[in-house]
Assembly symmetry: C2
Homo-oligomer: 333 residues x 2
């Protein structure tokens, strides 16, 4: 294993310290318990939004803390849920009196620990709602998960719910829009190589030299099938099919097309995937009205990518376009 790290035990705390040093215009860090919080939190009268989960998926979630997206992110150890303590502390830190929304990817540890933190917060008279994201169409149940997994679609839930909160939506409205995005987004991924978890020091699984894994999870959990390497266009078609069957968009519908890199795949390849996915959608009469391409929900150094399709409407487009100022996504002011 070659990595640009010091002691594997300190990977998360050192990375968060670097994150704080780089982005002190946007965020603050609490080291004990560990969470990242919007610099001006709590914002009085605004719904606070907290997400989190195991580290190793950066920029998810810390990179999305700022104006118009998350108020706090709670990073656990690599691929391991944070405990209820820091989640509770982050929830308190962002409570501006209008309640707090937890956005939680559907993994058993995350769901349990966020639930415990929400229960404890309610003892302090903080109203907490929770939206569980489960956009991955690859598998029904999986390692670490009952039901579908929450993957890259979570970024879209966080952006759009964050805009709703920034624009003054109350807790019920912000929760409803987060649920709406989750209900309208589907994702599926592919891996060319495994990732290497720093404290493990070995690949999380093994793929043959000519083999790829369709439906991979963001922790290297098994997907649907291992197949021989195919041209990019064939891989895109394979990922899109279950997404489109599950939604399915009608001719004339507008979608946001999101091609997400797993961390080790060059941008040039992500755009080759985007090209084909846009071609397929356009061929169905579906309008690719918005797009996102890049490393947003990663799996350390894994080579691979995922495709997400979100069915838009006027409300979601307005909220997607609303200003956002975070280290990983920013536009407007």
């Amino acid at each position: 294993m070659k990595k640009l790290i010091n002691d594997p035990k300190n990977v998360v705390t050192e990375a968060v310290a670097g994150f704080e040093a780089a982005h002190s215009d946007l965020i603050r860090v609490s080291q004990e318990p560990l969470f990242i919080v919007r610099k001006d939190a709590p914002v009085r009268g605004k719904v606070g939004i907290v997400s989190g989960g195991g580290s190793g998926h950066e920029p998810l979630h810390g990179g999305f803390v700022g104006i118009g997206m998350l108020d706090a992110a709670v990073p656990g150890p690599v691929f391991t849920s944070p405990t209820p303590d820091p989640i509770l502390a982050a929830t308190k830190a962002v409570d501006g009196g209008a309640g707090v929304l937890h956005i939680v990817k559907n993994y058993t540890g995350d769901v349990l620990n966020f639930e415990t933190a929400a229960d404890l917060a309610s003892l302090d008279d903080i109203e907490v709602r929770t939206v569980i994201t489960n956009d991955d169409v690859a598998v029904k149940d999986s390692l670490y998960t009952a039901g579908r997994r929450g993957v890259a679609g979570t970024v879209l839930v966080e952006k759009i719910a964050g805009a709703a909160a920034e624009l003054g939506g109350d807790l019920q409205a912000v929760t409803a829009v987060a649920e709406k995005v989750n209900a309208r987004v589907r994702s599926m991924g592919v891996a060319l190589t495994p990732c290497v978890v720093p404290h493990a020091g070995e690949p999380s699984f093994v793929l043959a030299e000519d083999e790829i894994e369709i439906g991979i999870g963001i922790h290297g959990e098994p997907g649907r099938s291992r197949i021989p390497l195919e041209p990019a266009d064939a891989v895109v078609d394979r990922l899109l099919q279950p997404i489109l069957e599950d939604l399915p968009p009608a001719s004339g519908d507008r979608v946001l097309l999101f091609v997400n890199g797993m961390g080790g795949t060059p941008q040039i390849e992500l755009y080759i995937l985007f090209r084909r996915a846009a071609e397929v959608l356009t061929g169905m009469g579906v309008v690719v009205a918005r797009s996102l391409v890049g490393n947003y929900t990663t799996s350390l150094d894994m080579q691979g990518a995922s495709i997400s399709v979100l069915q838009l409407d006027d409300e979601l487009i307005t909220l997607w376009d609303a200003p956002v100022q975070t280290s990983a996504l920013r536009w407007g002011r």
Copy 2:
């Protein structure tokens, strides 16, 4: 070789087609000859800025085309200079009557082909100035280069010169500020793994399982030395030393600290590097006034990173902070 591509011959054209599909709000693409141009080019009365070079370094340069940065980018084949033809066509496409600045990384092929295009443009009465970037302190001469190589510091030259042009600077002023940034920025990189060029299908060089290359070029050109893998902090110190010796910043000076990923390195590692680099600079009394962390000048799927330090002043800070709207860098409006 496992890559998410179709025919290796079509990697660049397909990626650019995907780029166009994803970012048609910001850019247009000319497929023949191949270049990416700001959607509203030419902007009447504004200095046009063109950059380009071999593909495989994305988002450099296409990702920086838009408002407040580049007017056009000319992508060559992977790791191969574009010919004068598309450079000339891009120069004409962005000429708004105020002249055009070419920003060229110091590689022999790029320098030659941009020079030829500039000569041809002058026959069409377009005034062209050229700034050659050469921020890499690793080696004096190198494969493909006489003198120092242009690497990640080029991003800072493009951002700041782009702001100067957007704010109405004339060709002389925009050229001067680009020269100024290049004179004040130094970079050095490290590779943990080689990259694999699609049409070659094999690693560009070989490193042993416990070996890293200090001073790597962005095409995998040899650097200063191969050494056994070290902790991240030691690697940072090794990269920073020649940068700081060459500048050198004084106590109280303000710098922009840029940690650039080579394409295959997780963000969590880039922030670990940033943490140590900021610590070293702060320890010298140098103020890290601005920061940039991420994959901006890549080398396909190479694992590794580079550090750049730019000595700021009030003018450079104002131009760095000015609004920019490109697919890879955006803030303000």
